[in-house]
């Protein structure tokens, strides 16, 4: 069966995304926007050098990002490799911050389906409440939509009660038409969230990519009634970029999507920039990065 792609016009989508980036978010809207952005963060560490110690420190930061600013909420989740899930889960017990794990041969996904399923089962068994899987770009680019969907569906089964976020790795898909198509495949196959990137590719959650995926979600929900969330990950490193993503969501999917149940921003460095910007709205002066702990 040959693939039928829906058209996305590159110039048009980027123009609209840029236009929404020009929304003026000032004063109280900026403060509320920053609090909202913090509340949807998946605070992430995905390094070979990650240790139990580092993850514990990051968990403390996730629960209480800025002890001096009590109105800043906890982030939504911590996102780690499967081997560190148990550590995170223990550190976060009773805090309301969830534990997410990447799985399925993250980030390339170039392992067998059996290995992907095993990876997922291990993470869930260790206590992961959310799984961030990668689609097989190899299958997608070869035109094998059936395999892409089957893998997502099987991993979804392996997740059990854990929420499944499906990473498209949009920078490797080559076009907005493909981004939209991959979004649809992932949602059809049972994704609870669709997610832009691993954070390991050349580009991540660009405004254009985010908007294409948000429009795909809107159309999917319209057609099936099943709610799917969105996670922007990769390249969202400043408050301005985070607020821009929130505007894209607000004006495409509406206010109902502005909650951690339906929206996440995967990031590490953006959190401190948000805290600095928030402090600036209160004190009127820019702080230093040293004002907040790294972890």
């Amino acid at each position: 069966m040959s693939r039928r792609l829906a058209h996305v016009d590159r110039v048009g989508i980027e123009e609209r995304a840029a236009q929404l980036g020009a929304r003026s978010i000032k004063t109280t809207a900026k403060q509320q926007g920053i609090r909202l952005a913090v509340s949807v963060i998946d605070l992430t560490t995905l390094e070979g050098a990650d240790t139990a110690g580092k993850v514990r420190q990051l968990c403390a930061k996730a629960v209480c990002p800025a002890p001096t600013i009590p109105e800043i909420p906890s982030v939504a989740a911590i996102c780690v490799y499967p081997s560190l899930v148990a550590v995170a889960r223990e550190a976060l017990a009773g805090t309301g911050v969830r534990t997410a794990s990447v799985a399925t041969g993250f980030p390339a996904g170039q392992v067998s389906l059996e290995a992907k399923l095993r990876d997922t089962e291990d993470a869930v068994a260790a206590g992961a409440e959310e799984i961030d899987m990668v689609i097989s770009r190899e299958a997608f680019l070869a035109g094998d939509d059936v395999r892409v969907m089957r893998e997502v569906a099987r991993v979804k089964d392996a997740c059990g009660d854990a929420h499944l976020k499906v990473i498209l790795e949009t920078a490797e898909l080559g076009s907005y038409d493909h981004v939209r198509h991959a979004s649809m495949l992932a949602m059809e196959a049972g994704a609870d969230f669709i997610k832009t990137s691993t954070g390991k590719a050349a580009a991540g959650a660009t405004p254009g990519v985010c908007l294409v995926m948000l429009e795909a979600i809107r159309d999917h929900v319209e057609r099936t009634g099943r709610i799917v969330g969105f996670k922007a990950a990769g390249g969202v490193s400043t408050s301005k970029a985070a607020l821009h993503r929130l505007v894209l969501v607000k004006e495409t999917l509406g206010d109902e999507w502005l909650t951690p149940d339906r929206l996440r921003i995967g990031a590490s460095s953006v959190l401190n920039d948000l805290l600095m910007q928030y402090a600036k709205t209160e004190s009127g002066r820019y702080g230093r990065s040293e004002d907040f702990s790294r972890e």
Binding site: V8, A29, V63, C64, S74, L258, T259
Partner: protein, 486 residues
């Protein structure tokens, strides 16, 4: 460690009004004749008001017949020396004006929004930058005129009268003045009755640029000033942008007087969405085509032609998108749709919308709270429109789009061309060959493919049929201001 309970965070944009305290507006503006502001011969000052609040902004002198006469004399006297300047020198003045517009861009944008009701986002991002771009573009042409009209010797026409509308006040002034002056003409500009302010600031800019006295005169006033101007002796050309009715009157008045004329008039432009279009971007283009500047755009995509196979989908998406438009204070940086320009225009829109309902079309207007004062009209969509309905034929010049359906490419072309106007059209399709085929079959001066309402000083703009004649922009825009000598 205590944990903040998860309460949902409500996120609305706070008001973000652009500041107005930097403006240096005078309480009263005279006429601009011979390089200086002066009193009108018969003192008559009329306030210009902010259509979003109905509050007066400044008092504006309106020109009378004696002022018109004097402006023509002054322009006539200045013309030979202006034309005799080395071409590069003329270009230099235009470059100066372009740079001064950029320097005063913020002020000009705010004044444009105050005086005309358009969202600041548009005056800041579209009107003012494009006005500067037009001066830059034609500044560059000033010393290359013979290449604009290839390998012919050309000379200026002389003194030109230029009458501009209220929808893009400064931008339309730039469209007229920049090519006119570059070609060596002197000009008398009549800004629109409801939006004279940025033209008067442009007069200040002409002073700052040390433009020779008399090269540009600016005579505010209502339609009678324009009527006096077109009937006054001593002009070589009239360039007019506005309604077809007034254009017809001007053409009659000029008949047999050996004067040049260009008219850029109304439109009922077809925006054609094929089933193979990128639908979401087409919806965005429809919104930009008809709600940009409250639909006060001569080339607005006011006749929306949608292929039947995607009709329901496009309308559903369009209606949902219309619900997200932010309507209100034009000075707010997040406003998408501002105020209607005048009480008179609002009345015209209301009349035509009522006619649409009477004739049986189905009306949907966005439910939004509109300010109590000022002139406002909610973005409106008409479905079940038949090609004979007034709302499918007449120019509404407001935020109102009429949807018609078609089945085949041939029918789309036939319906699009079945209009007394022929200013612009839009084509939405992912098929390149189809786009070119349809574009060449359309009788419209501008055809946009997969976009709408994009303007550029290098591109010619103008109409077919009752949308007028003559072109503005690019090298084609030089021709109406030049006489070919040999």
């Amino acid at each position: 460690m205590t944990v903040e309970p998860r309460t949902s965070i409500v996120w609305e944009y706070a008001p973000a009004p652009e500041a107005t305290d930097h403006l240096r507006l005078a309480e009263r503006y005279g006429l601009f004749i011979g390089g200086a502001f002066c009193e009108p011969a018969e003192a008559r000052y009329v306030p210009t008001i902010n259509p979003a609040t109905e509050e007066p902004i400044a008092e504006i002198a309106w020109a009378g017949p004696r002022d018109v006469e004097r402006a023509i004399e002054v322009a006539r006297a200045a013309q030979p020396r202006w034309a005799a300047l080395p071409d590069r020198e003329r270009g230099k003045y235009l470059f100066r004006i372009a740079r001064l517009i950029q320097e005063r861009a913020r002020e000009l944008a705010v004044v444009e929004t105050l005086d005309g009701g358009k969202p600041l986002r548009e005056s800041r991002d579209v009107d003012i930058p494009l006005a500067a771009a037009h001066f830059f573009h034609y500044a560059g042409w000033a010393d290359k005129l013979r290449y604009g009209v290839v390998a012919r010797k050309v000379e200026p026409l002389g003194v030109v009268g230029q009458i501009v509308p209220w929808n893009f006040p400064l931008l339309m002034a730039a469209w007229k003045l920049a090519p006119g002056l570059a070609c060596g003409n002197t000009a008398i500009l009549k800004p629109a009755e409801t939006t004279p302010l940025t033209a008067l600031l442009l007069a200040e800019i002409c002073q700052e640029a040390e433009l020779p006295d008399g090269v540009v005169s600016i005579l505010p006033g209502d339609g009678t000033v324009g009527a006096t101007l077109v009937r006054a002796p001593g002009l070589d050309k009239i360039a007019f942008t506005g309604s077809t009715a007034v254009g017809r009157d001007i053409q009659t008045a000029l008949a047999g007087r050996g004067m040049e004329l260009t008219l850029e008039l109304g439109g009922k432009s077809a925006n054609i969405v094929f089933e193979d279009a990128a639908i979401d971007q087409a919806v965005e283009g429809i919104v930009n085509g008809i709600f940009f500047n409250q639909g006060h755009v001569c080339c607005a995509g006011s006749r929306l032609l949608i292929q039947e196979s995607v009709l329901d989908e496009v309308i559903a998406k369009l209606w949902a998108r219309m619900g997200r438009l932010r309507i209100g204070d034009p000075l707010d940086k997040n406003t998408d749709v501002g105020a209607i320009n005048s009480a008179e225009q609002l009345e015209r829109i209301e009349t035509l919308v009522a006619a649409g309902e009477d004739e049986g079309a189905v009306r949907r207007s966005v439910a939004c709270s509109l300010p109590e004062r000022g002139y406002w009209f909610a973005p409106t969509l008409f479905t079940d429109v038949s090609p004979a309905h007034r709302i499918a034929v007449e120019e509404i010049f407001g935020p109102v789009v009429s949807v018609l359906s078609f089945r085949t490419q041939a029918e789309a072309i036939e319906k699009a061309n079945n209009s007394r106007y022929g200013l612009a059209a839009g084509i939405w399709t992912d098929k390149g060959a189809k786009a070119f085929e349809v574009a060449s079959a359309l009788r419209a001066g501008v055809v946009w493919q997969n976009t709408y309402n994009h303007f550029d000083p290098t591109a010619a703009f103008g109409g077919y049929k009752e949308s007028g004649f003559g072109r503005e922009g690019g090298p084609a825009g030089l021709r109406p201001y030049l006489r070919v000598v040999r």
